[in-house]
């Protein structure tokens, strides 16, 4: 009887827990990170993109300024490619608790984030958060427009802040084939997909260096229609 009561109370406790508080904890953890800059190395393991490792310098300033500086052509994943502690604010999402788990030997929770303002964004995220260290370990963007992106993050200590050292992105996205004659090998045509992995390595972090607006001028990548 006591056991049943204990179980029931645990369930009740879970049901009443605010999953959004994990996001608050992460936000609080990184509230002192005003800006950072780091060296980035991107390694592609995608069949449709044969490229050597690309290097660049990344600049970030809270809440949403980002710039990449590269002497050469540089491809950088839009989703999950860089660390933005302001991205997952509780107020922007409807947070749902999915499960508790052990991730990489540590206690973790899995949360589903649905944007509250669907006009600005319709991306649904599933986050795996290390609750012992308040670190986002996995980001999964749920299928939208047929896209699936999953990022696994590892951290290191820089200037007393735990910042990502390695992000592994798994991609499974549809291609946008050129118009014109397509393959006529059979009735019906399958849309081709781009699958593979992108490994992003961060090093040489400099945190809170006082990045000015000047740096983020001309921060736009190639404007595409």
């Amino acid at each position: 009887m006591a056991g049943i009561l204990f179980l029931l109370s645990s369930e009740l406790i879970q049901a009443q827990e605010d999953p959004g508080r994990y996001l608050d904890l992460i936000e609080k953890k990184y509230s002192d990170v005003k800006d950072y800059m780091a060296d980035v190395n991107v390694h592609f393991d995608i069949e449709a993109l044969k490229a050597p490792d690309m290097q660049a310098k990344l600049y970030y300033r809270a809440p949403d300024k980002m710039k990449v500086e590269s002497k050469r052509i540089f491809f950088f994943p839009k989703e999950g490619g860089y660390f933005n502690p302001s991205l997952f604010k509780k107020k922007d999402f409807d947070v749902r608790f999915l499960e508790r788990l052990i991730y990489d030997g540590r206690k973790a929770v899995r949360l589903k984030l649905t944007p509250t303002d669907t006009e600005t964004s319709n991306k649904v995220y599933v986050l795996t958060i290390d609750t012992e260290r308040n670190l986002i370990r996995e980001i999964k963007i749920s299928p939208s427009e047929g896209r699936e992106i999953k990022a696994a993050v590892e951290y290191g200590m820089f200037n007393h802040f735990e910042l990502p050292t390695h992000i592994d992105l798994q991609l499974d996205i549809p291609s946008d084939e050129p118009s014109g004659m397509k393959e006529f090998t059979q009735f019906g045509q399958k849309t081709k997909r781009i699958t593979g992995k992108v490994e992003i390595t961060y090093s040489n972090y400099k945190v809170n260096v006082g990045l000015t607006d000047e740096i983020f001028k001309d921060a736009e990548p190639h404007r595409l229609k």
Binding site: E47, A48, S70, F75, F76, P77, K78, P178, I194, H222
Partner: protein, 280 residues
Amino acid sequence: MKLFWLETYKTFSRWRTYISFGFIALIVIMTEVVMKLSADEILYRMMRSFQKDFLIFGNVLNGWFITAFIMNSLHIHIPFFITLVAGDIVSSEATAGTMRLLLIRPPSRSKIITAKYLTTLFYTTGLVIFLALICITLGLLLFGHGDLMMNYQSKLRIVFIPEAEVPLRMLLAFTAAVWSMTVVASLAFLFSTLAENSIGPIIGTMAVVIVFLVLGNFPFDFFRMLSPYLFTTYMIFWQRFLDDPIPWQEIARSALILGLHNIGLFSIAFVVFTRKDIKS
């Protein structure tokens, strides 16, 4: 060698030889100016598959890319300019009556036809090299330099070539392009040997090239079966030097097939010319 230089002198003494160079320069300049104005549209089309998921930085539309882009149209306009000379080099002598003067000289017909063929190849090489120089020079001036990004849309692949590797690869690619164009030159040369006027060889060669290109690109099973037997299928093997990894075996095979075409076409021209009766 003397005969070769005499033939080369004769060829380059005619203003029509320079039409080709002039038009190539014009085409390249116009293309690069238009591309400069349409840079965004070009990038959009090229990056369509990746733009939703990647931010793209750097000088993508640089001089190397422009050069590769223009080279992709190599098999359309360059063959025509090649046939202007290759299709004319033998038949024009028949039309002008100078063949009679030429063939009563001590040098044998085999030496004369060989000299003319070498001149044709020399001109073809010069034309492609000119294209390369003007593309690269103007491209780098207008668009700057950077890594080369090749978009193989039919295979849904983008290949990056680091800038340090690009010059050598471009050199190899243009060498391969020269080799490809020599087949067109050989075909026009053969037709020139068979004809008594230049219009026939020029039109005939272009007709063959265009028809073969069209047939080889139809996405139907029948034409795919036919495609390995068409020399135009191998003409774009220069692109393989801008791939990663470089498919050396495929390149060697294409080069060999094109080389065999050259040998065959010249051999027929050789036999025809050395045995034909000069009645005109």
